[in-house]
């Protein structure tokens, strides 16, 4: 490609401040989101194409017969131009890129009419949009710029900014959000990042990441990543990790009296200990039930209420597969550099999922805070986490719903507002941004937005996501699978990118229902099914031949 390709001429300032309009006949290279520049005092003033309108075209009737090329008609009449259409292209000025400050500086002056407009060369663009180079520590090569030929301009996001200021992956179902998250996790586990990550996986989509362990791309020297798949059967939460609020959340519709006695019993059993303050102090469900029995003896008139409360606790907690007296997931097992823990939550009730996530997030937040401040120095303590961690939450709207109570919402709010200081990053993945708490969404400073059709979700994004330009957000409906708008702290400027191919298999493939149905009637399958389901023939009765039973 020509490095200094002129693609148009400036007509004048645009309608809004910081915009200009140029005229071009080049339709192919003036895509929305494309980067162009003009020269001002020896500086390249870079801008992004936001809108395009045709201002000169052939008469409509020339286009009436699909079998005839309208340009042939124009050519017959002597208008033999190679490109007869003219476009008016609007550009939003970013400014010139200051390599010292690593940001754009807007000259606050629109280009003079007649100035030439150039396409930013691929190499320049790669160094402008990315603050890191591919393979550098803290880089995540997630794809390539959509407006350029595939792989010409890599899009590399800054992992430091991503982890410290949080991430939101917003996309409608089937548009590739889990795939994108998979690519991101691969990058985080590459030898140049070696991240400590946990994925909350309610659909068991991330178990294919296990392949990473045997892939040479991910190993270097002594480094070899470990994928810790934590199936639902191994997800355990100790009762003593629960707060009073967690228990109340698990036992809905408690009466005021029940709440009162639960509160009294909880205070007695926990002896005023914050479950996050002292993880060594443990109580069992039997302790809680005994405290309630004791309260019942003190107040015989409320025995009925207390018994009902005991029954509810017993029903909900005592027989739970998740909650138990002593077992839980040790933090130092979940979070380790070079390790990705996949917390599989399928087959677990949604309320319990919220409590599990809430408990783990609360524990890791406390652990990171204490380790960072030097309150925990014992390296054998499970709460000693001396490295930043990143938590990726699938179906985030379940854990931080808008206009609905959730036990995990407050802890997420705390982490999103304070986690940056202690090295605790959160990535939220959702297909319904409209159902996600708007405060939570606005705290995610890096956004990866894919195809969104729902108008409520679109307006939520437009109001919560400030860094992506409004024009770029207009592209949301036209994006196809694997195409993403990346904006915010992890990139220097919002970009339209195509997500790179995953190294590992994608676990969230859409099931091909017709193929399964066809397979059902496949000759071999049908025969096998018949054999499996046919009742065995009864053995013939024994006969005696020459005195021997046959």
């Amino acid at each position: 490609m020509n490095n200094y390709q002129i693609i148009g001429t400036v007509q004048g300032p645009g309608k809004k401040t910081g915009e200009y309009i140029f005229i071009t006949s080049n339709n192919d290279q003036t895509k929305t989101g494309e980067f162009v520049y003009y020269c001002f005092q020896d500086k390249k003033i870079i801008g992004t194409i936001t809108e395009k309108a045709i201002i000169r075209t052939l008469p409509e009737s020339y286009l009436s017969d699909p079998g005839i090329n309208p340009h042939d008609i124009a050519s017959i009449l002597g208008c033999d131009l190679a490109e007869s259409e003219l476009y008016e292209v609007c550009v939003s000025i970013n400014g010139y890129f200051d390599t010292n400050m690593n940001c754009f500086i807007n000259p606050r002056i629109s280009p003079a009419p007649g100035n030439k407009v150039y396409l930013v060369p691929d190499d320049d663009l790669a160094s402008i949009i990315n603050s890191k180079k591919a393979g550098q520590t803290g880089s995540a090569h997630v794809g390539s710029l959509l407006t350029r030929p595939e792989n010409n301009v890599p899009v590399i996001i800054n992992v430091k900014n991503l982890v410290s200021t949080h991430l939101a992956i917003l996309a409608s179902t089937g548009s590739g959000k889990s795939y994108t998250a998979g690519v991101l996790l691969e990058e985080l586990l590459k030898p140049y990042n070696r991240a400590a990550v946990m994925v909350v996986d309610p659909h068991n989509e991330y178990d294919t990441l296990k392949d990473i362990e045997s892939m040479t791309e991910f190993t270097e020297g002594i480094y070899k990543p470990f994928i810790n798949i934590c199936p639902p059967s191994k997800v355990k939460v100790r009762y003593s990790s629960l707060t009073e609020h967690d228990i109340r959340y698990l036992l809905p519709n408690l009466s005021d009296k029940m709440n009162h006695y639960l509160s009294l019993a909880f205070k007695r059993v926990s002896k005023g200990n914050d479950p996050d303050e002292d993880s060594s102090y443990q109580w069992s469900i039997e302790d809680l039930l005994q405290e309630l029995t004791g309260l019942g003896e003190d107040k015989p008139e409320d025995t009925g209420t207390i018994e009902a409360l005991r029954w509810r606790i017993g029903y909900r907690l005592e027989n739970s597969r998740i909650f138990n007296d002593s077992k839980h997931l040790p933090l130092n097992n979940i979070f380790k550099p070079g390790q990705c823990t996949v917390l599989q939550l399928s087959e677990i009730d949604q309320t319990e999922q919220q409590v599990i996530v809430s408990t783990i997030l609360r524990r890791i937040n406390k652990a990171r805070m204490d380790t960072h401040k030097g309150y925990i120095t014992n390296q054998n303590s499970e709460s000693y986490i001396p490295y930043p961690v990143f938590v990726l939450l699938e179906e985030a709207h379940r854990f931080a719903p808008a206009n609905a109570p959730s036990v995990s919402l407050n802890v997420l709010k705390t982490i999103l507002s304070e986690g940056r200081k202690f090295g605790l990053g959160v990535g939220l993945i959702t297909q319904r941004p409209g159902k996600l708490d708007s405060d939570i969404l606005s705290q995610c400073m890096t956004q990866m937005i894919m195809k969104i059709i729902n108008p409520v979700d679109q307006s939520t994004i437009a109001s919560s996501v400030e860094s992506a330009g409004r024009q770029l957000l207009d592209e949301l409906t036209s994006l196809t699978r694997g195409q993403v708008i990346i904006a915010g702290a992890a990139v220097n400027t919002p970009v339209l990118a195509a997500i790179r191919k995953r190294i590992t298999l994608h676990g969230g493939e859409t099931i091909d229902a017709p193929e399964y149905w066809m397979e059902y009637f496949d000759e071999t399958t049908a025969k096998k099914r018949k054999m499996d389901t046919t009742a065995l023939k009864k053995a013939d009765t024994t006969e005696k031949i020459k005195g021997f039973s046959i």
Binding site: P59, S64, D72, I73, S75, L77, G78
Partner: protein, 197 residues
């Protein structure tokens, strides 16, 4: 076949031609030889020819309006007494120049030269018309389209439709669909939209 001669011009592109009258040519000119939309060749210089199209006509009659008593002799006597009878009535046609040729090379563009008075105007043969409508790459072209729209006034759409009709009869079939589309375009413009130049 020569059909007349240039007698006047109203612009660089618009010329008037008087059609030869009776007895002025060996073979009398009939109405079939000069019609609206007729391609003509104007032989001006020995190596150059101008190509034009008839787009307007008028009848010239100096006696128009002279209906009063006449003092001259009866016409029968005039025939005897005046040897050189001058018929002053004439058919005048307007011609728009759409091209020129030099050394057997034709071009659909405005000729740079001025046609002298009395230059002979001849009918273009079908073969010559076909050749005129081919560019250097032998592609069919009507580059004079815009010139007609600009310089033939209100006759432009009718003239273009007539030209296209005539061309459909003499050009190759592969051009017909394009000519048809063009005709539809003009018809639409003429009928529904004020013709835009």
């Amino acid at each position: 076949m020569n059909i007349g001669k240039i007698i006047k011009s109203s612009s660089h592109l618009n010329y008037k031609c008087r059609i030869y009258g009776k007895n002025e040519t060996r073979v009398d000119i009939t109405e079939k030889d000069f019609h609206f939309g007729q391609f003509v060749i104007i032989k001006a210089f020995h190596d150059k020819e101008f190509i034009g199209i008839i787009y307007n006509s008028e009848l010239y009659n100096p006696d128009y309006g002279n209906f009063g008593p006449r003092l001259t002799n009866p016409s029968d006597l005039n025939y005897v007494s005046i040897p050189d009878f001058i018929d002053e009535t004439a058919i005048i046609v307007d011609i728009i120049l759409v091209g020129w040729s030099e050394n057997n090379l034709t071009r659909q563009e405005t000729p740079p030269w001025v046609i002298p008075l009395n230059a002979e105007v001849a009918v273009m043969s079908e073969k010559e018309i076909c050749k005129f409508h081919q560019d250097e790459s032998n592609r069919f072209c009507m580059k004079y389209y815009n010139c007609i729209l600009s310089h033939t006034g209100n006759f432009a759409p009718q003239l273009l439709l007539k030209i296209i009709d005539d061309l459909e009869k003499i050009t190759e079939c592969n051009q017909h669909d394009k000519l048809k589309l063009l005709k539809q375009h003009i018809l639409w413009q003429q009928t529904n939209v004020k013709l835009k130049v």
